[in-house]
């Protein structure tokens, strides 16, 4: 086993352990904080794959925005933050079976793939992933249409949020 594989194993175990804590901890704010820890583990996995940009964006978007939003939502909607209600509903075993089946299915599919055992290749020094990504996202030959559609979708969500929050009767 190479050093990279050992590091990957540690990161993967940490990520999975945190993810398990998200669903098993009783306190909702703790669950949100464990989620942050999980997302951080995913960011480290991206960094191990030499995907610096994706790793940093993972931290900015998921930890900086979404996790903070979760914590806010929990704090603003719960009267008492020490939850004592039941944690699981009656279908927990069905969820667990689906999760195990999806994992087994993905593992089976990927084990047939030729790159299953490979480690990430060393990138050449002049390889500038981020400018290639930028060009791909803005080039008509590549992904400019999906990129623009996603932008319009986000804009629509933004307008919708403003519309919901806007109160024309006031003043």
């Amino acid at each position: 086993m190479t050093a990279q594989q050992i590091i990957f194993m540690i990161v993967a175990a940490y990520t999975l352990g945190s993810a398990l804590m998200v669903v098993t901890t009783r306190n909702l704010v703790h669950a949100a904080l464990w989620l942050v820890s999980t997302l951080f583990g995913v960011a480290v996995a991206y960094a191990l794959l030499n995907a610096n940009f994706i790793a940093v964006v993972q931290v900015v978007v998921y930890i900086g925005a979404i996790a903070i939003l979760f914590i806010f939502a929990v704090m603003l909607t719960r009267k008492d933050m020490r939850d004592s209600g039941p944690q699981m509903n009656r279908n927990w075993w069905a969820g667990a079976i689906v999760a195990v089946l999806v994992f087994a299915g993905l593992a089976f599919l990927l084990s047939g793939w030729s790159g299953f055992q490979n480690t990430a290749a060393e990138l050449p020094a002049e390889f500038d992933a981020i400018s290639l990504l930028g060009e791909a996202l803005t080039s008509p030959q590549a992904f400019v249409l999906p990129f623009e559609v996603a932008s319009v979708l986000l804009l629509a969500a933004l307008v919708g949020a403003v519309y919901v929050a806007f109160n024309p009767t006031k003043k």
């Binding site: 703790h30 940093v56 964006v57 900015v60 930890i63 900086g64 925005a65 996790a67 903070i68 981020i130």
Partner: protein, 397 residues
């Protein structure tokens, strides 16, 4: 290659040679040397942090027409050590009902979010942690951890004032992240890269001259991100006692405090790197990396001084003013400036340097002027709605 031209690499190679000479595995010694490098950088930063306390107290004293610490040692230089001894021997309290793990983790994360920034700071062309190709975005990512630490501190203290302070600070940070991120794009457009070293390398003309408005908006967003006056409503002594860190005592409070000072110094450094040429100063950085480090530290100190100057001159603003200022003025202005800059950059792509600089400078001035005019007419209308239309009265003598 000598020690004076590339100190970091020479020292690392020498140490690795020593370690492998002891019979250590090559990979292990490489990892160990990397760890020692990180440890050395953090140790130096913490020592610097001790003196930042002294600098901050001395400068605020001059702004307030006092002398500042002057009893212990020459110019009161021993004062910060006395402060540290006091903080360490203070009772370490934990409020009842506090969430112990989260409560103790928050100051560590707060300090960490500052120290991690130094991984991408190029102190000299060859003296830097990692040459990350997304250096500018890394700044925002580290800020996300800082935001998290504050909400953790506010929530886990089991104190309503701490909670309100945490909410306020997070509102400030989440809001001002947007103009900051937008302004980070401006040096990126000029340099064609998000790499800190490349951004410095492209500054034959300081980006401050190309984009004074961008530098100003970045400074405002940085001050808000720091939670310093006029954006220190998270502390709000008059209403919240001390805000999110109200329940912290001893060195845990010290971590927040030292973290804030180092954060201010760090943002001074980033301001210098992004808009004032970083370690470059009339070719002096070519002479020796040590000179380059000195130049960057002096520039960072000047940036830190400006941040202190603002802090001790301005009044605290209310939260609705903060939100209105950000969302109705600063964010649209930042987006407009980004569009104008990108457009001008495309138009002036083939222009000579002097025309490029002049065009960019004028575009910034015009954008800022239009924004101020719009803001002025909008606020006048708002005032007229509240106070009724007033005609200016001629003064008679």
């Amino acid at each position: 290659m000598s020690f004076w031209n590339d100190p970091l690499k020479v020292a690392a190679d020498w140490l690795e040679g020593v370690f492998t000479g002891w019979g250590m595995d090559a990979v292990l010694s490489h990892v160990l040397v990397a760890f020692l490098g990180v440890f050395l950088l953090i140790a130096l930063l913490m020592v610097l942090d001790i003196f930042l306390v002294w600098i901050e107290r001395k400068v605020v004293a001059r702004f307030q027409d006092r002398i500042g610490p002057n009893r212990l040692g020459p110019f009161g230089l021993i004062q910060p050590f006395a402060d540290i001894i006091k903080l360490i021997i203070k009772e370490d309290t934990t409020p009842s009902g506090a969430d112990k793990v989260v409560y103790n983790l928050a100051p560590i994360l707060s300090m960490m979010s500052v120290l991690i920034l130094w991984a991408v700071v190029p102190l000299a062309p060859v003296v830097l942690g990692v040459d990350l190709n997304v250096g500018a975005l890394f700044l925002i990512a580290a800020g996300a951890i800082g935001t998290l630490s504050i909400i953790m501190a506010g929530w886990s203290s089991n104190n309503k004032f701490a909670m309100i302070g945490g909410f306020r600070q997070v509102a400030v940070m989440v809001s001002f992240e947007i103009p900051m991120l937008t302004m980070l794009m401006i040096p990126t457009i000029y340099a064609g890269s998000m790499n800190m070293n490349a951004i410095i390398g492209a500054q034959d003309v300081w980006f401050f001259i190309l984009s004074p408005l961008g530098a100003l908006i970045f400074l405002i967003a940085a001050i808000a991100e720091l939670g310093r006056a006029p954006f220190d409503l998270a502390e709000g002594e008059s209403e919240l006692v001390s805000g999110f860190n109200i329940e912290y005592s001893g060195m845990k409070f010290g971590m927040f405090y030292a973290g804030e000072l180092l954060h201010a110094f760090t943002f001074g450094g980033f301001w210098a790197i992004l808009f004032f040429g970083g370690y470059r100063f009339f070719g002096l950085e070519q002479v020796s990396p040590f000179l380059a480090i000195l130049i960057l530290i002096i520039k960072a100190m000047l940036g830190y001084w400006v941040i202190m100057w603002v802090k001790y001159t301005m009044m605290r603003i209310r939260i609705d003013q903060m939100l209105g200022f950000n969302w109705k003025f600063l964010t649209p202005l930042a987006f407009a400036l980004l569009l104008v800059t990108a457009l001008m950059n495309a138009l002036l792509a083939d222009a000579p340097t002097w025309l490029y600089a002049l065009g960019m400078f004028l575009a910034n001035v015009v954008t800022g002027w239009i924004a101020l005019e719009i803001a002025r007419s909008a606020t006048r209308k708002e005032r007229e709605q509240v106070e009724g239309i007033k005609t200016p009265v001629e003064a008679h003598h």
